[in-house]
């Protein structure tokens, strides 16, 4: 008995070992919304080794021999959702000792067993920008994660070709970061403190350049400056919390002065300065909330923000800001934007491709195209309908959420224990240990 279980466990282990042994998988007959092109009423999606190998109409899309087939008739397939602003994973960044802390990495804080990650999978989210909070002018380095089923944070990271871990930098202005000393007390002071640090970083960068590798001339390593130099060099995009119209313009002003790349987040007043945002060619990651107010900066929050910014020519994405809105209901943000005048196409783009672009991940995620990561969601119905359920979520060809599995269903609908950290079951443990 014990031996046969071990053999079985061993087989599981082998099956999970790399992509090489995996058969291609095809999803047949569903309506495919590839985002990259028109909807395919009866489509075929083929994935292999974690990538998409074919997508097209069922009649004209060949399926390789040995493919595992999934019946997707009556269902809808969309790309895995990309959340450009989330706080799942019990994430922490900067502490309260200083308003600007570029050395703080969320990498060093995330709990991959946090139930929020399971719930995000249940909501169809496959990629998320995990951020520290907005109580600082600069609260630390963010992480772009793939919501794979992982055991440690490294299992969820995204690395570029040079092996660099993908992530941005979180900044904020307005009222949240105005606090007691040593935090700024006014908006002008906020901007002054930020400028001071970026000027320091410019000087640090220049010193390093002038040293040209000479250890005698190199300044001592400074983790804070190193991170800001990455921002100045455009390697790390600034994700900037900002609400009021004048604060939005301040962000644009500073990004121009220092040449950093920026995505504006929340932008409650964005509709008032839509043309200015468009002219600056700055993308917006917006939040969709049930009512205005709750804080002075969000008094004029409008459901029409998405439609207005889009019309002005701004790249618009949505975010959950989880726990402000629930990752399981992320599709709802796009649906409510449509209610308020945004086109269906742009709203779906805002859940996927627009966010992928904001995270520099447009070559890997955000649409169903050959060569991209096999991140997709199987839906029971139209993505904008309240009655639609996420049935399955797949990341890189692996199913990470299955509504028919009672353990996953608990995260999808809630119930006793649904918010507890993911349990480490002994049987899971045995499986992984062998």
């Amino acid at each position: 008995m014990k031996t046969s279980f071990r053999v079985l466990a061993c087989w599981f282990w082998l099956a999970g070992f790399g992509f090489a042994q995996e058969a291609p998988q095809a999803f047949l007959g569903g309506r495919i919304i590839p985002i990259a092109g028109p909807e395919i009423p009866e489509g075929t999606l083929v994935v292999h080794n974690g990538r998409i190998t074919a997508v097209g109409p069922m009649r004209s899309t060949p399926i390789p021999d040995g493919t595992e087939r999934h019946d997707a008739r009556g269902k809808i397939l969309i790309p895995g959702l990309v959340d450009s602003h989330s706080h799942i994973g019990s994430v922490e960044g900067a502490d309260s000792t200083a308003p600007i802390q570029p050395d703080a990495r969320v990498l060093d804080s995330i709990n991959v067993r946090d139930a929020g990650i399971q719930k995000a999978q249940a909501g169809g989210i496959t990629t998320a920008n995990i951020m520290p909070g907005s109580g600082h002018l600069l609260s630390g380095q963010t992480l772009y994660l793939k919501l794979r089923d992982g055991n440690v944070i490294d299992d969820l990271l995204i690395r570029n070709r040079e092996g660099v871990i993908a992530g941005g930098m979180k900044m904020a202005n307005g009222t949240n970061s105005r606090r007691a000393d040593p935090f700024p007390g006014t908006r002008a002071k906020s901007a002054a403190l930020v400028r001071e640090q970026y000027i320091k970083a410019q000087e640090y960068r220049d010193k390093v350049q002038r040293a040209n590798g000479d250890p005698e001339k190199l300044p001592p390593r400074d983790l804070r400056m190193e991170a800001l130099v990455e921002v100045l060099e455009g390697k790390r995009v600034v994700h900037h919390h900002t609400h009021r119209h004048d604060d939005i313009l301040t962000v644009i002003r500073l990004s121009k002065e220092f040449g950093f790349r920026v995505v504006l987040h929340h932008v409650s007043d964005g509709w008032k300065v839509a043309n200015e945002i468009a002219a600056a060619k700055v993308p917006c990651s917006i939040i969709v909330i049930d009512s205005p107010g709750g804080k002075l900066e969000a008094l004029d929050l409008s459901g029409k923000t998405g439609a207005i910014l889009d019309k002005a020519g701004v790249l618009v994405g949505f975010h959950t800001d989880d726990g402000i809105t629930d990752s399981r209901l992320f599709l709802r943000s796009a649906a409510l934007a449509v209610r308020n005048g945004m086109s269906r196409e742009k709203a779906l783009y805002g859940l996927t491709m627009a966010n992928a672009i904001m995270l520099d991940l447009q070559d890997r995620v955000g649409s169903l195209e050959v060569g991209k990561d096999a991140d997709f969601v199987v839906l029971s119905g139209d993505p904008l309908s309240v009655y639609t359920k996420v049935l399955e979520t797949w990341v890189e060809g692996k199913k990470v959420f299955d509504r028919s599995d009672p353990k996953d269903l608990l995260y999808a609908v809630g119930g006793y224990g649904a918010s507890r950290d993911q349990m480490m079951h002994m049987d899971d443990y045995d499986e992984e240990a062998r």
């Binding site: 709750g294 649906a335 209610r339 119930g415």
Partner: protein, 410 residues
């Protein structure tokens, strides 16, 4: 000059006449709906609701009802009764979320049944306007959760310049909160057991007060005590005790207290109600369930389920939905959206609509006036351009007592 003056007077008279005619005409309305959900029977295809002087005069299929000449005609794809938010703090809690517009909880004492909602409600609060735009015509609002006994609640229509214009029931329930959120670590009560001990002591005090007021000779009668007066009303079952309790043990405590003092109990929040369904049934207590989309990540609502409304309903428990209390953004939720999520998670369409109309009206004790489209009831209606629960549908009109209060597309 005299001629000009005469013209001015004449003009004014015409204007007055015109506006008088307008209101006269506006008061008489025929609402046509491709589907009319009356909540008093099956939905009517191609239905008509006739409104005269603020009340519903007739409801039925268009084939049987002719809209009289002179009636203003409104048309919609779907017509429903005006929605009811069965528990909110809107109007006491304002959208600025600054100290000066947050009147839902007074923290100087843990026991304040004497605080009247009518003395704090701001009918011109923007959030009232906001939720009205989504078809919500009746609000059960007042003192909120977060204090052991925070005060009274009331029922209003979401209109009016003054609280008197808005009022339906000035003193609806007394609000009690059990569990973590009403603990006061320094002042007390600092524990669940202490909360219940304080409540029981206060109710016993009110029993003795009532009996002394009744039987004692004039010189020995206790003086009027506003707090105890209110609790006597609760003890006399004139008004229910509204107990916000999320954890199952707090729900059970509420039931135990209600039984001991023979109170009318309305359970509120009740995130873990599905764990104690038998006990809730036995206590015959209706449940004003937390917003279906309430934040589930933390604290006492961590175990809430999107399916609780349907599980309770299947067991025959009376369920209404609420927008609840929000301390941050969004400053209020919208019960139309909450019912939509309940409809997507096990409730039938009619049942889900019921949680924000007729069921809510029954729990609040106002089903004789609102909650369904029936002859003689207030003409409170919500008009939609599609399935009310679909995110992409719109509210296209809202009527309160026959008055069109919103024609905005929302």
């Amino acid at each position: 000059m005299p001629y000009g003056r005469c013209a001015l007077v004449l003009g004014s008279v015409v204007l007055v006449l015109m506006s008088w005619c307008n209101t006269r005409v506006e008061a008489q309305i025929g609402v046509k709906g491709e589907t009319v959900h009356t909540l008093a029977g099956p939905a009517i295809n191609n239905g008509v609701v006739l409104i005269r002087d603020g009340k519903i005069e007739r409801v039925g299929p268009a084939s049987q009802i002719t809209i009289p000449k002179g009636f203003r005609i409104l048309q919609a794809k779907v017509v429903s009764p005006g929605l009811i938010d069965a528990h909110t703090v809107v109007g006491l809690s304002g959208y600025l979320n600054q100290a000066q517009d947050q009147d839902q909880t007074e923290r100087s004492s843990s026991m304040q049944p004497d605080l009247r909602a009518i003395d704090a409600y701001n009918p011109q609060e923007r959030l009232v306007d906001w939720v009205r735009g989504f078809g919500i015509t009746t609000l059960h609002t007042g003192h909120g959760p977060g204090v052991l006994m925070s005060g009274q609640t009331m029922i209003v229509k979401s209109r009016g310049k003054t609280v008197d214009d808005a009022i339906v029931v000035p003193n609806a329930m007394v609000s009690v909160t059990l569990g973590e959120s009403s603990k006061e670590p320094t002042k007390g009560p600092g524990s669940r057991a202490k909360q219940v001990a304080l409540l029981r002591a206060e109710l016993i005090k009110a029993q003795e007060y009532a009996s002394k007021r009744k039987t004692a000779s004039d010189d020995k009668k206790p003086g009027r005590d506003l707090r105890l007066d209110e609790l006597v009303r609760v003890l006399n079952r004139e008004i229910p005790l509204l107990v916000t309790a999320q954890r199952s043990q707090d729900i059970i405590s509420a039931i135990r207290i209600a039984k001991e003092f023979n109170l009318k109990l309305v359970l509120d929040g009740a995130a873990e109600a599905y764990l104690v369904i038998d006990q809730i049934k036995e206590a015959n207590a209706p449940v004003i369930l937390h917003p279906t989309m309430a934040r589930a990540g933390m604290g006492e609502t961590e175990n809430l389920s999107l399916e609780t409304a349907s599980r309770l309903k299947k067991e025959g428990i009376s369920v209404a939905l609420q927008s609840g209390f929000e301390s941050y953004v969004p400053k209020t939720r919208v019960v139309l959206y909450e019912a939509a999520v309940a409809a997507a998670n096990g409730l039938s369409f009619e049942e889900a609509l019921g949680t924000v109309t007729i069921e809510a009206a029954r729990i609040l004790g106002i089903a004789d006036r609102v909650g369904s489209l029936e002859v003689g009831k207030d003409a409170d209606l919500a008009l939609f351009d599609g399935d009310p629960f679909e995110y992409t549908s719109h509210v296209i009109g809202v009527l309160i007592q026959g008055e069109i209060v919103s024609e905005e597309v929302r």
